[in-house]
Symmetry: C2
Subunit: 334 residues, 2 copies
């Protein structure tokens, strides 16, 4: 048994954020020390609310949640993606309101504090727009030397985008922040749509979660009903991509990349039609990606194994101290 | 036997342009009525020179060649790609200088004339930057209604670019022209790097050409020696992509596309890092590309069959009226 690594999670909870959070809490490889909220799928405030409520449901109300940036570095928050995640961000599932309050620090402050408390070992998992991470880099330029590794769900390397033809939502919601984070001198793993869209959670997997007697997998199964209806318009069947939980599993090292070249990545911060695109240097494709001097971003393009069974197994291993009945889970999906 | 279709070829000859030209001349489906030259791989003037010389070598000196634009719509010609095609554009192979002079019209004028002479039947094959085609659209806005179809070698849909990380050379050498051509109301087939890089001509194919006793396949085999050395840095072995001849074969209908969705395409004409990218609406990928209202550009992403054998067979079928000895082919590869 290795010691679980200390994690800072930055999220915009969000249905797949909820899956990623539950996955991290269930994983024996992660010790979540703090969570920051950022506007993305929902506003930073709603995301923080959902995170607090999920933590209580999961029996982890002791993990501090800090409010992060409402607006991106340039411009303002555009209202999120209620058609994907529901108006409350978690597929119209109602959770008991957590007793815990927000942490007395901002999300960027929390990240900087945790990096100093766990120098060289803190892992950062960023599954929303990168506003908080960019702000933390401004607060403490030494951050990259303190953090062990940052894993980012975001971007589209060779796959089509989702929020535009070439841009993925997390990056496109704050391209300026993404440019700062992806050009900082730290070890980055980027988990783009190329791999998150290719690894799908099916209705049979959702039914496995719904068959649980534990509150957390049951709530996630309910949320996924909403998420699946959005993705039916993308895949033509009830299923979903697994953006954020896949990034979580890669961050803890529980799944392996098959193709993941370390390449130079630039974010398009122009006002052109490519705005928000993660422009990856992938011209080495035809020679299995020769080494690129100065490159530091590992871009995960495919996995060695199917991810869904591992995700479901991990979520079903979740054993909270509380049960559904005790916490009064009222799962009403619109 | 169907009547061969009248063709206008627009090119920047170039080694793979030479292959495409020879392929068209050998094809029973094409009747090349005129050729325009544009700056790209080489200057428009050098490309016209190469085209005239190749036509004479092929015994087709009667086909008129018109000089086209030296500079793109915005900016100026940057000098071409001598590292790919050689300083003379045809891999340092020396051809006998043709007796024929240039046509007494510009390339855009030739295209407009041919479209009026063959209303509804003229096929356009554009394998260089799209400057001449855009100029022709300015000369005669009715051009799209007169032309049967335009096939364009250019762009990168989901594959990496070649001249930049996301842009292909023909498009990136004149993005403004490409934007005009791709937004005009005609039937377009785009043949991007996705399919041209995936279909490779091997050294064994080149040896087949070199074993010919005909001047044209022999000269092409010599030129390919130069081209292969460039592509060895891309593929890790002596071989090459088949950009232009593949576009020619698709234009004449001799090869079939396996995946070729008709989608909306926008050219990035910004000054950002995405400049010159062909931004294709490919988000329908996960549902086999549902129909897109208003889309008119067929983007060829894969073929049903391996292209190289067909290309070699067609080039070897070439039987010019003259032989190597008669034309004094001096194939000296640097």
């Amino acid at each position: 048994m290795t010691t679980p690594a200390p994690f800072y999670l930055d999220c915009d909870t969000g249905i797949d954020d909820a899956l990623a959070l539950a996955y991290l809490l269930a994983s024996p490889h992660a010790d979540v020390r703090g969570i920051g909220s950022v506007s993305g799928n929902v506003s930073a405030a709603v995301g923080a609310r959902n995170t607090l409520d999920l933590l209580q449901l999961a029996g982890h109300a002791h993990i501090p949640v800090a409010l992060g940036s409402h607006d991106p570095l340039a411009g303002s928050f555009q209202g999120g993606a209620p058609h994907v995640h529901g108006t409350n961000g978690i597929g119209e599932v109602s959770l008991t309101t957590a007793a815990a309050a927000l942490a007395p620090e901002t999300a960027p402050e929390m990240l900087v504090r945790l990096a100093h408390e766990h120098p060289g070992t803190l892992k950062v998992l960023a599954i929303g727009p990168l506003t908080n991470i960019a702000e933390a880099l401004r607060l403490d330029p030494e951050l990259p030397q303190l953090v062990d590794e940052i894993t980012i769900m975001g971007g589209a390397a060779l796959a089509p985008g989702n929020i535009t033809r070439v841009a993925e939502a997390n990056i496109a919601n704050d391209p300026e922040a993404a440019a700062v984070v992806l050009s900082a001198d730290w070890k980055i793993t980027l988990v783009p749509l190329d791999v998150t869209m290719a690894n799908v959670l099916e209705e049979s997997h959702r039914q496995e979660l719904l068959a649980s007697t534990e509150a957390v997998p049951l709530a996630l199964g309910e949320m996924l009903g909403y998420y699946f209806r959005f993705y039916e318009g993308i895949y033509g069947r009830a299923c979903s991509a697994m953006h954020d939980p896949l990034a979580a599993a890669l961050a803890v090292g529980a799944v392996s990349a098959a193709v993941a070249p370390v390449v130079r990545v630039e974010v398009d911060t122009s006002s052109g039609p490519g705005r928000g695109q993660t422009i990856c240097e992938l011209r080495g494709l035809y020679m299995d990606y020769p080494e690129q001097p100065g490159a530091r971003c590992r871009v995960v393009l495919s996995l060695t194994d199917d991810f869904a069974p591992h995700l479901v197994e991990t979520l079903l291993s979740f054993s909270a101290e509380s049960t559904t009945a005790e916490l009064g889970l009222a799962a009403t999906v619109a």
